[in-house]
């Protein structure tokens, strides 16, 4: 196990270098001078453009630029945006918000999704099963920006139960509604995934054996059946959490949450290459680590899986 983890961690290095290089070159390869649009329709004085170009090393060949950037990154410096703000400050402000939102969405989708899946699988065909199937189909069909706006207008503007948007430094309470919206799609998938896996295992030999042994039905379901059925669900939740940690551009936009998704989106729009590369590099690392965690969890859930 230890060697496996070490090997996986070492694999991170080439992936890290590869992705940062691709992102770096792509961002700065966007046609047009990133500073040309900064002064509005009047245009910028040449002295300004020249100094900014030098400051961001854009006058040097791409490989040199990249090495300089990487050197800066390894000394713990994410660089500065065009308006003179440390990218690290931006990440520090945005990441906790994204983390909170992702966790809320994850708790919501996992708890409700798994519960609904178990319920329908145990009850079998009937009203509840049809209800959950129809509800999940609906959630899958509705795009997030629609459900986001509907919730915002109905609960925020008309009923005034929640604030229509979230301010800076949001509390957990403020993030509940956006979290529900964000997690709703995955919740539907989890419910269906759990249901299918449970159905499959319901008729498995080991379940019949366990029941025949005289175990209580509760124990059969919670320990024997659920543990095996959750393996695909865990995979899904793990990768989904990795994706959620990358920010949620649409949900963040609707509820004005200043998370990591909006930060990257804005930076791409204004061609802030330093911010994009810095944040996306971080996201790549987080995603890779989440994947590693899921793989390790497999082994814990299923003793048959061994990595050495």
């Amino acid at each position: 196990m230890g060697r496996y983890i070490l090997r996986r961690l070492l694999q991170l290095i080439p992936v890290f270098i590869g992705t940062t290089f691709i992102i770096y070159s792509l961002v700065w390869a966007i046609p047009g001078n990133p500073f040309a649009g900064m002064c509005g329709p009047r245009g910028c004085p040449p002295a300004f453009i020249e100094q900014m170009t030098q400051e961001y090393n854009l006058d040097k060949p791409l490989p040199v630029q990249y090495v300089l950037y990487l050197g800066q990154l390894f000394s713990g410096n994410f660089g500065q945006t065009f308006n003179g703000i440390e990218v690290s400050t931006l990440i520090q402000n945005a990441y906790p918000v994204t983390l909170k939102l992702a966790t809320i969405a994850l708790v919501f989708e996992a708890v409700i999704g798994i519960a609904a899946g178990i319920l329908t699988a145990l009850r079998g065909k009937g009203f509840v099963d049809n209800l959950v199937l129809a509800a999940t189909l609906f959630l899958i069909a509705v795009p997030v920006f629609v459900s986001g706006f509907v919730i915002q207008v109905v609960f925020g503007v008309q009923l005034e139960w929640i604030q229509p948007s979230v301010g800076s430094d949001p509390t957990i309470g403020q993030l509940i509604a956006p979290g529900l919206v964000l997690g709703s799609l995955s919740m539907a998938y989890i419910a269906r995934l759990t249901r299918t896996a449970m159905f499959e295992n319901k008729r498995a030999d080991y379940i019949r054996t366990a029941t025949a042994k005289g175990l209580k039905p509760r124990r059969v379901v919670s320990v024997h059946m659920l543990r095996n059925s959750l393996i695909p669900v865990i995979t899904f939740i793990g990768t989904d959490f990795g994706a959620l940690m990358g920010g949620a551009i649409v949900t963040e936009g609707v509820f004005n949450i200043h998370g990591i998704g909006g930060l990257v989106f804005d930076a791409i729009k204004t061609q802030e290459g330093v911010t994009v590369t810095g944040v996306v590099t971080l996201l790549v690392v987080v995603y890779l680590l989440m994947n590693l965690l899921v793989d390790i969890l497999y082994a814990a859930l299923d003793p048959r899986i061994r990595y050495d």
Binding site: G43, V107, W161, S222, D266
Partner: protein, 554 residues
């Protein structure tokens, strides 16, 4: 069994949180004693500024939204009427040779850190802004001052040429001289009658000694001399200003604390405003613009006023085809402006009759475009015929990151239907790329161009855009007559006379049609129920000093 027991408490606590969120959220916050103080500040829609918060290096509206209330220059423009009036200047007197201004400052003014505002603060700030080595965005604002060419030498072969501009031979402009603590002299290269109006622009404000001592610290914690002072900022999220209690000027604010909140979606800001969760917006989302729904929904709280700007279709006169004035006139005649204003903007715009914004202080447009701005199908066709027709496709360019698609599609349709030629659209993804293409003369067909007045004289619409050496001349238009008229106006004896001559110069554009004036759309915004008063200035920037909190219980 251990695992199962966990489910109940988790579910219970989750539902408790849900309940708490449901009950405790509360939509709009009503007006209380604390409204407008740091505890419950007045909130304003905002966006992350593109540049650092230094007046000589900031150009975008989000930067202005903060810097405007934080700094007071010699002259300020009235947020409602855009008229200039003396602010920090007690008097600005012109010498007999019309080249030197003697500025006397009001005494007793202090920066937010307690430093007294002296003549030196102005001179140092202006020199800093102009010096090429500091690479400030607004450097060319100072180019009328004597000695500017020494601190910011021009590129000998133009921007595109291989030669680099020479190193500046001086750090200070010779035209600026401090006489005593509260007096300084400005000598210009040549007489320039509207200079005292121009210096109300944001780049001409004083900077405290603290800026020159530690610029890094200043960037994080800017210090000004205006009615509001910097309180705190979370980049990409918000910035708070508080009222500067020792402010000496007569445009002091009444609200104690104002918080600018970054919004990425106009739609969200709009919903927030409707439920009093946000107090001022300066954009209306497209969805609410349809059928003027926003005006019905907001009633008296809706703000709509003329913008001191204009949208034109620039013509690339560096391309052979567009050198023919008849073609340019044909295109202008083929656009039904009134219909576009009515259908695309629901009447919230004014069809252009010339190159200067309507209702512009110091000389609104007097129809400088003349007959060419009237929709006339027959005449348009006639001029197209005179120009020898048009082969191939006419491509109109615009930047896709602004809200231009709708109206430019309408313009294209109008030209196509009237002249019967093929018209296509070219959406350039970002404004940056677009600006780059304009700078490098890479446009192949007409391209949209928006211009907002920097200062309240017609000159701001003419000199930079259409003189041969204009800093924002993107059309390649060059007319000796026009250049001479502008030069003559610059040297006019009085401001009124100058404005008259600028209008005459605009009429010269009416003979050549280097660009096609289209319309001026209205400044649109709204305030919440928590404000009794509050408006946007004519450049769409919320004017914080005009805010007044509504009475509690209203």
């Amino acid at each position: 069994m251990r695992k199962r027991r966990m489910v109940a408490p988790v579910a219970a606590s989750l539902s408790a949180v849900l309940l708490a969120a449901g009950c405790g959220g509360g939509g709009g916050s009503a007006v209380t004693e604390a409204t407008g103080t740091l505890e419950d500040p007045i909130t304003v829609q905002w966006g992350e500024p593109q540049s650092e918060l230094v007046p000589t290096n900031s150009n975008d509206t989000f930067g202005s939204q903060v810097l405007n209330p934080m700094f007071t220059g010699l002259v300020e423009y009235d947020p409602k009427s855009f008229e200039p009036k003396n602010a920090m200047a007690k008097s600005i007197e012109l010498s007999d040779d019309k080249k030197t201004y003697t500025v006397k400052l009001k005494q007793g003014w202090k920066f937010h850190n307690g430093e007294e505002v002296t003549a030196d603060n102005f001179v140092r700030a202006w020199n800093y802004g102009a010096y090429a080595g500091n690479a400030q965005q607004n450097a060319d604002m100072f180019n009328a001052i004597q000695g500017y060419d020494a601190v910011h030498p021009a590129d000998p072969d133009g921007e595109e040429g291989p030669k680099k501009p020479p190193e500046p031979s001086a750090e200070k402009m010779s035209g600026l001289k401090v006489v005593d603590d509260h007096t300084f002299k400005i000598t210009l290269k040549k007489p320039f009658s509207v200079f005292p109006t121009k210096i109300g622009y944001q780049a001409f404000v004083p900077l405290p000694d603290a800026f020159f001592e530690n610029k890094e610290k200043f960037r994080k914690n800017p210090i000004g001399n205006g009615p509001y002072k910097f309180e705190s900022r979370t980049p990409q999220q918000s910035l708070t200003l508080t009222r500067y209690k020792d402010y000496q000027g007569d445009d002091a604010g009444s609200v104690d604390a104002v918080k600018m909140v970054v919004y990425n979606k106009a739609q969200t800001a709009y919903q927030d405003l409707k439920s009093d969760n946000l107090d001022v917006i300066n954009t209306i989302p497209t969805s609410a613009l349809a059928d003027n729904r926003w005006k019905d929904e907001l009633g008296e709280r809706a703000i709509s006023k003329p913008r001191m700007g204009i949208t034109v279709l620039n013509l690339p006169m560096y391309k052979e085809k567009f050198k023919n004035p008849d073609l340019r006139k044909a295109l202008s005649l083929a656009i039904d402006r009134e219909k576009i204003v009515k259908q695309v903007f629901n009447g919230e715009a004014t069809a252009a009759t010339g190159w200067i914004a309507p209702d512009f202080p110091g000389g609104p447009d007097k129809g400088s475009c003349g007959e060419w701005c009237n929709y006339d199908k027959a005449k348009a066709k006639e001029h197209l015929k005179k120009a020898g027709g048009f082969d191939g496709q006419l491509t109109l360019s615009y930047n896709a990151d602004g809200a231009h698609k709708q109206w430019i599609t309408a313009v294209a349709g109008s030209i196509r239907d009237t002249l019967g030629i093929k018209v296509g659209l070219n959406a350039v993804p970002t404004f940056g790329t677009y600006q780059d293409q304009m700078d490098n003369n890479e446009m192949t067909g007409p391209f949209r161009y928006g211009w907002v007045a920097d200062y309240p004289t017609p000159r701001t619409f003419l000199k930079p855009l259409y003189t041969t050496s204009g800093s924002a001349n993107n059309t390649g238009y060059s007319s000796e007559k026009f250049d001479n008229l502008i030069a003559e106006a610059d040297q006019a004896a009085t401001v009124d006379k100058a404005n008259q001559l600028y209008n005459q110069a605009a009429s010269q554009l009416g003979k050549d049609v280097p660009s096609i004036p289209l319309f001026t759309n209205a400044v649109k915004g709204a305030t919440s129920n928590r404000l009794a008063e509050g408006t946007l200035n004519s450049r769409t920037v919320p004017a914080i000093t005009t805010f007044k909190v509504a009475q509690a219980g209203e």
